[in-house]
């Protein structure tokens, strides 16, 4: 049943366009500078202040990391920090989760347009929001705190801190309600609300916010981290204004965006005009759903302009995987930054000016309220990112130098393992296991993808040590290791992903609640380029009534699922269940796509891959056409024959007539 639109929700559907000042009543007085002032900046002042503003977003990030109690923030760098100008254009984002840095502008614009008159925007105020239709984050877990900077009675700019919160309500722990059909089963979004008023945190609003969470004290701590981070930025920017003058600092901010725009335009002009299109699939909108949905992306480059057209994308679905416009943009910007803008200041406000988006509201990656968006960030936003990644990398492939900044699609989605229950000390806990951060990166035009290298949208991610996880949560790992064949085969291999396999251990409740959610089981989500294969499919397995404990006490650590007795349950895309003491959970997250024809990869390199367990001997033979000696070196003669045969059979051709083959013709 299609979701019924909610009349009255339209006002929260923020668009991507810059603010139209003439048509926005109730704005506070804005500090502005002229183009002449921007052009008049000398190179010294510009560079000094630019460097200072970058340092400020670094300080914001440091502040959030130190204060946060959320493992996804402290251990995975899953947060964002940014500085915006007076009309909400983003001047600088810190090097954290780039999805979260992409739509801070929408949140600032909405706040300017809707809160200026009532309740007003004043010095010392900070606004909290987790409404992805408004902007800021991509799903309700992403909570943004937005703070205006005032100088001499005028609104000078904005700072924002956003981070993923472990739980904000909804029917499932972790707020990813895998059985839900719309947003009402999830955490209810909060549009911008003034949580700090004139420097004071309002207890009534804080209570109202925290009331919805299963871990309110933790979420309250993160709230303070974000408020503190904004305060650091405001203090430092105010000091900068006092030293250099507001007009100069603002001129630098505008110039940073102009500069990024100019540099990107120049780079686009150096690439050929053309159109590249791709597709990204997601299997399963919610628990029990078996359908497969598509996001279609047609990217056109004309002159110095890039257009992403998502026409033919599937309509939004009953489930948890839709995303809003902020999610769509969160799929575009991380790729543009890492592949098109690695050598310039990351000023999204300028970069967006080079980009047009064509997308119909009501589609899966531009969903209207009340579509379910609990997993937006790792589903439709991430799949948008995958499709964009393909088109951008393909375009870059046509330029000998710029091709080096491209990668095949990196790990195609987030593999959720959410655990909740009682820990070994008897305290309640809810946590997202972040091991899946160690995804494989996509192959490059001149090298393999980085094995367990991370995620494309978080340039500096981390995973916690096994010991930290075993200390914090009631679990015991049988293994955590890289997985052979998980990187997409190709002339250049995609980076491998990895797997974790564990049992519950020492929980007083014995069982541990488990939420599993990861698409990519029927259709792999990290495709390759130039003939390269996609990375492996997502693979999560529950073994019920396994004999792992018996094996351990008999002196053996099971080293594969095959070694376990019990009942194997291949997990569907979304599942909520309990992990009993006799159960084993295995989760194998994704690698990166390959590049080029696997038959072009040097046989010695494959043999090395096999010895290093990046590729199995089966994979070597069946996909790469490489035969190995007993001690796993390349058998060149057998390989030549095998490749000759495989070259035909994989193309659906009959084998060569024996006479021709024996004659040495190929």
């Amino acid at each position: 049943m299609p979701t019924v639109p909610v009349a009255g929700s339209e006002k929260f559907a923020q668009q991507a366009e810059p603010l139209d000042l003439a048509r926005t009543p109730g704005l506070p007085p804005l500090h502005q500078v002229s183009d002449e002032q921007v052009d008049a900046l000398d190179p010294l002042t510009y560079e000094v202040l630019r460097h200072r503003l970058v340092a400020i977003t670094d300080e914001m990030g440091d502040a959030i990391k130190r204060m946060s109690g959320s493992v996804v923030v402290t251990d995975c760098n899953d947060f964002g920090a940014g500085i915006m100008d007076e009309v909400g254009e983003t001047v600088q984002v810190g090097l954290y989760n780039m999805q979260l840095g992409s739509s801070l502008d929408m949140a600032a614009r909405w706040t300017l347009a809707h809160r200026g008159a009532n309740p007003g925007i004043h010095p010392g105020d900070q606004f909290l929001l987790n409404d992805p239709w408004v902007g800021g984050g991509l799903h309700q877990n992403d909570v943004t705190v937005l703070a205006p900077i005032f100088h001499d009675g005028k609104l000078f700019g904005w700072t924002a801190a956003v981070a993923h919160q472990v739980d904000l309500g909804g029917v499932s722990p972790g707020s990813w309600s895998v059985e839900g059909r719309d947003v009402f089963a999830e955490s209810i979004p909060i549009p911008p609300i003034k949580i700090v008023e004139n420097g004071t945190l309002r207890s009534d609003i804080e209570d109202s916010y925290l009331r919805r969470s299963r871990v309110p004290r933790l979420v309250g701590l993160d709230l303070r981290a974000k408020i503190g981070s904004n305060n650091v930025a405001i203090t430092r920017i105010t000091a900068l204004i006092e030293k250099y003058g507001a007009d100069t600092v603002k001129a630098v901010m505008k110039r940073m965006m102009n500069d990024a725009e100019q540099q990107l335009r120049s780079k686009l002009v150096s690439l050929p005009d053309g159109t590249w299109s791709s597709i990204a699939h997601q299997d399963g909108a919610r628990a029990g759903d078996q359908d497969i949905y598509k996001i279609v992306c047609t990217m056109t480059k004309a002159g110095d302009r890039l257009t992403f057209d998502f026409t033919d994308t599937d309509p939004q679905v009953d489930g948890i995987i839709n995303c809003t416009l902020s999610g769509l943009r969160g799929g575009v910007m991380p790729i543009v930054l890492t592949m098109l803008c690695p050598d310039m200041t990351w000023a999204p406000g300028g970069i967006w000016r080079c980009i047009s988006i064509v997308s119909e509201p009501g589609t899966i990656n531009n969903a209207t309220f009340p579509a379910g968006i609990g997993k937006a960030s790792v589903n439709s936003a991430w799949s948008t990112q995958n499709a964009v990644s393909e088109t951008v990398a393909s375009m870059l492939g046509t330029h000998p130098e710029l091709a080096k900044s491209a990668m095949s699609v990196c790990s195609g989605t987030w593999d959720l393992t959410l655990l909740a229950g009682l820990d070994q000390r008897g305290g309640g806990f809810v946590t997202m296991l972040c091991d899946a951060m160690a995804g494989g990166l996509g192959a490059k035009v001149d090298g393999d993808g980085v094995d367990t290298g991370g995620e494309n949208c978080i340039p500096m991610g981390r995973v916690a040590d096994v010991e930290i996880n075993e200390f914090s949560f009631p679990m015991l790992y049988l293994w955590r290791r890289e997985e052979a064949d998980s990187g997409g085969p190709g002339r250049w291999r995609g980076g491998v992903g990895a797997s974790s396999c564990f049992i519950p251990h020492d929980s007083p409740a014995e069982s541990v609640h488990l939420v599993v959610s990861a698409t990519g089981k029927t259709v792999p989500q990290a495709p390759g380029l130039s003939g390269g294969y996609p990375a492996a499919t997502q693979w999560d397995v529950l073994v019920r009534d396994a004999d792992a404990r018996k094996q351990l006490s008999d002196g053996h650590i099971p080293a594969s699922l095959d070694e376990l007795a019990g009942t194997v349950q291949e997990c569907p895309t979304h599942l909520e269940t309990d992990l009993a003491p006799a159960d084993v959970y295995f989760t194998h997250w994704q690698g990166g796509g390959g590049i080029g024809d696997p038959l072009e990869r040097e046989p010695e390199l494959i043999a090395l891959d096999v010895r290093l367990k990046k590729v199995s001997s089966t994979g070597a033979r069946e996909v790469y056409g490489v035969a190995l000696t007993d001690d796993q070196f390349a058998d060149l003669d057998a390989t030549t024959a095998l490749r000759r045969a495989l070259r035909r059979s994989r193309a659906g051709l009959e084998p060569e007539p024996i006479a021709a083959a024996a004659g040495g013709l190929s």
Partner: protein, 96 residues
């Protein structure tokens, strides 16, 4: 149009004609259908190698295939995708 490499396998010449870099075979026109003459072959995705961990038939009713595009002459693999078979391929490109 400037002649240029398109990717590891394809090159386009000054007349917008696309050729295989490995054997020179003409494949199509870059501004319309670059791989018009390429050979396309589909197989069930379970044949795509050990990276397919679970038979998709256990999870979906839709047929999933590995669809590959080859140079008709030297049979170099030019494109690979694993997709539902019941939709047209969306992966294309063209140069202006």
């Amino acid at each position: 149009m400037t002649a240029r490499d398109i990717d590891l396998n394809l090159v386009v010449d000054a007349d917008r004609q696309v050729h295989c870099r490995h054997c020179g075979e003409h494949l199509g026109d870059a501004s319309t259908e670059p791989l018009a003459k390429a050979r396309v072959h589909e197989r069930p995705s379970v044949q795509a190698g050990p990276g397919i961990h679970v038979d998709p038939a256990t999870l979906t009713d839709r047929p999933i295939v590995i669809r590959q595009t080859f140079c008709p002459q030297c049979l170099t693999l030019l494109a690979t995708e694993i997709v539902p078979a019941d939709e047209p391929s969306r992966r294309k490109w063209s140069l202006a």
